[in-house]
Amino acid sequence: MDIFLQQVINGLVQGSLYALVALGYTMVYGIIELVNFAHGEVVMVGALVGLSIIERMAARGDTGWGVIAVGVLVAIPSCMALGLGIERIAYRPLRKAPRLAPLITAIGVSIALQQLAALIWGRNYLHYPEVLANPQFHIGGAVITQIQLVILTTTGILMLVTWVIVQKTALGRAMRASAQNPSVAGLMGVNVDRIIASTFLMGSGLAAVAGVLVGTYYGVGNHTMGFMLGLKAFTAAVLGGIGSLGGAMLGGLLLGVIENLGAGYLGSLTNGAMGSNYSDVLAFLMLIAVLIFRPSGLMGERGSEKV
C-alpha cells in the first residue's frame, strides 16, 4: 500500500472538514474581528443533534445516505438558531466594548454549551450507528472510502456555494462592505447588525454539516469534541490568513495533509524518537514558521494595519 498517497487522501478529507469549520471563524472574524471561540461548540452541537436523529432512524431500521441527509437537515436549522442566539446574547451587547470583553463571553458561551451538551447527552462517548455500507475504492495503491468521497464532494460544493454567496450576491457585497468599514457601510444603507447575524447564520449552517460529517467519519460524538476541532480549524483560518475565504480553505487542507503526513512519517524520520503523537507539534510549528515569514497568513491581506 502506498503510505504517502494514503496519508494525503486522509489528510485532504480531514483538512476539508477543518476548512468547513474554518470558514465560520474567518467570516465572523472578517466582519467583527472577534475570535468566535464558541464556533467549535456549534459544530459539536450539530454532530450530537445529527447523532440523535440518525440513532432514532437507525433504530427503526432505516439505512443509507438518506438517514445521514435527514440528520444534516435537522442539524442545520438547530445550529443556525444556536448561532443566531449566541450572537444576540453574547456578542451584540458588546459591540462597542473593549476588545477582550467579547472574547471572554465567547469563552463563557463555549463552556456553557459544553456543559449543556453534557447535561443533555451525557458525558460518555456516543457511537454513531452504522447505517452505511461504506464500500472502498482503490486508486494507485491507496484506498478511499465512500464516506471520504462524499465528504470531499460535499465540502467542495459548500465551499463553492459560500464563495458564490460572498462574491456574487448582494448579501455578499454587503458582507464585504461591512468587513471593510462597518460605519461607512452603515451610511450606505447596509444594516450591519443584520449582515453580522447572517454571517453567523451561514457559519453555523456550515458548522452543522461539518459536525454530522465528522461524526459519521470518525463514528463517535462527545460534548468535548468541538474544542480541539475548533482549535484546529481556527489554526487553519490563521494559517491561510484570517478574514480570507480562500485562505481558510487552503489553510484547512494544508493543515490536514501536514498532520496526516506527520502522523505517518514522524516515527521513521526521527528513528522512533518522536511518534505520531507529535503530529500536532508539527502542525503548530508550521503555523509559527508560516506566520514568521508571512505575518498575515498565506492569503491574508497585507498592510491593512490601522494607523
Binding site: T26, L100, Q180, G243, D280
Partner: protein, 354 residues
C-alpha cells in the same frame, strides 16, 4: 489620613486572620482553596503584565506555569533522585520560564493581535505535548511524591503547633503564598509607574506612535513576555511543591483561558482588580457546589449532574458579568475613563477584506 492607616491595619488583620476564620466557618477544604486562589492571583498578576500592561494577547500562558512546576518536580522529587531546596529552585524557575518566554517572544512579537494569540496558544500546546510524551517528565502519568516546600529546616507541608494550637501545612502555605503575592504586587505596582511601564502602555495604546516616538518596541515587548513568564514560573514552582503531584493535564489550554478570564474579568491592568478576578474565579466553581444538595432538597432527587451544572453556572456568570461590566469588575479609574471616551474611534478602523 489617620483613618486610612487604621483601615489598612484592619485590612491586614483580616487577611492574616482569614485562614483561621475560614477553617472555623467553612472547613479545611476551603483553606486549601484559599491557597489555590493566591496561586492563581500570582499567575493572573503575571499574565496581567503581558495582557494588561503591554496589551499582548497570550493564550498559552500556562506553558510557563508548567515550566516552573516541572522544574521543581524534577529537581525536588525521587523521580530523578534530586532534592534541591526552594531558595535555589524559586529563582531558577523564574529564570528558566523567562528564557522560555523570550524564546517564544523573539520570533513572534512582530505579529499583530490575534495572530500572536494563536501562536502563543500553539506554543502552549507544544509544551504540553512534549510534557505528555517525554520520558524525563514521566509522560501522561506525571510526577508524584514531590518534596513539600522546605526552607531552613521548616517544612511547609508538615503539621506544626503554634502556642499549643494545631497549625497544619495549608496554613503555612497560605502565609508563604501571601508573602510572595505581596512581593509580586509590589513589583507589578513599581513596574506600572516606571519608565518601562509607561512605555508598555504607550505600546498598548498605539504601537506605531510608540515606535515613532523612539521606543524600542521589540525589546520592550520581549521584556513584558519574559517578565510575565517569570511570574508564571514562580507560581509553577510553588504549585508543584504545594500539590505534591503534577501531570500534563494540569496545564491545558483551558487553564490558560481561565487565567485570562481572571485578568479580563477583574479589570485588565489594575492590580486590585486582577487579584479580585483571580480569587473570585478560583472560588466560584466551589461556591456553586451546594447546588446538588439544593436539588436533592427541592426535588428529592439529583436531576442534573452537579459537576456540569456547576460549570454551567460559572459560564453563565462569566457571560453576564462581561455584558454588564465590559471593562471588568474593578477597572483602574484611568482605564475606565479612556474606555468611555474611545467609542467613536473604534468604528472607523480598517480591517481585512474577506
Amino acid at each position: 489620613m489617620k483613618s486610612k492607616v487604621w483601615l489598612g491595619l484592619l485590612g491586614l488583620a483580616l487577611i492574616l486572620a482569614l485562614p483561621f476564620a475560614t477553617d472555623l466557618l467553612l472547613g479545611r477544604s476551603w483553606v486549601r482553596l484559599l491557597d489555590f486562589a493566591l496561586l492563581y492571583a500570582m499567575l493572573a498578576l503575571g499574565l496581567n503584565i503581558v495582557v494588561g500592561y503591554a496589551g499582548l494577547l497570550d493564550l498559552g500562558y500556562v506553558a510557563f506555569y508548567a515550566v516552573g512546576a516541572y522544574l521543581y518536580a524534577m529537581l525536588a522529587s525521587p523521580h530523578l533522585g534530586m532534592h534541591w531546596p526552594l531558595w535555589a529552585l524559586l529563582p531558577m524557575g523564574a529564570l528558566v520560564a523567562a528564557c522560555f518566554g523570550a524564546l517564544l517572544g523573539a520570533p513572534t512579537l512582530g505579529l499583530r493581535g490575534d495572530y500572536l494569540a494563536i501562536v502563543t496558544m500553539g506554543f502552549g500546546e507544544i509544551i504540553r505535548i512534549f510534557l505528555r510524551n517525554l520520558n524525563i517528565t514521566n509522560g501522561p502519568a506525571g510526577i508524584d511524591l514531590i518534596d513539600p516546600i522546605q526552607m531552613g529546616g521548616f517544612s511547609f507541608g508538615a503539621n506544626h503547633s503554634l502556642l499549643g494550637w494545631d497549625f497544619p501545612g495549608i496554613y503555612s502555605y497560605y502565609f508563604l503564598f501571601l508573602i510572595l503575592t505581596a512581593l509580586i504586587v509590589l513589583i507589578s505596582h513599581r513596574l506600572s509607574d516606571s519608565r518601562i511601564g509607561r512605555a508598555w502602555s504607550a505600546i498598548r495604546e498605539d504601537e506605531i506612535a510608540a515606535k515613532s516616538s523612539g521606543l524600542n518596541t521589540r525589546q520592550l515587548k520581549l521584556m513584558a513576555f519574559a517578565m510575565g513568564a517569570a511570574f508564571g514560573g514562580v507560581s509553577g514552582v510553588l504549585f508543584a511543591g504545594f500539590q505534591g503531584f503534577i501531570s500534563p493535564e494540569s496545564f491545558t489550554m483551558g487553564e490558560s483561558i481561565m487565567v485570562l478570564c481572571m485578568v479580563v474579568l477583574g479589570g485588565m491592568g489594575h492590580i486590585s482588580g486582577v487579584i479580585m478576578g483571580a480569587i473570585l474565579l478560583a472560588i466560584l466553581p466551589e461556591a456553586f457546589r451546594p447546588l446538588s444538595q439544593f436539588q436533592q432538597a427541592t426535588f428529592g432527587h439529583v436531576w442534573l449532574d452537579p459537576a456540569n451544572l456547576r460549570m454551567l453556572m460559572f459560564a453563565v456568570a462569566l457571560i453576564v458579568v462581561m455584558i454588564i461590566r465590559p471593562e471588568g469588575l474593578w477597572p483602574s479609574p484611568v482605564r475606565r475613563r479612556e474606555l468611555l471616551t474611545n467609542d467613536d474611534e473604534k468604528n472607523s478602523s480598517h480591517k481585512a477584506v474577506p
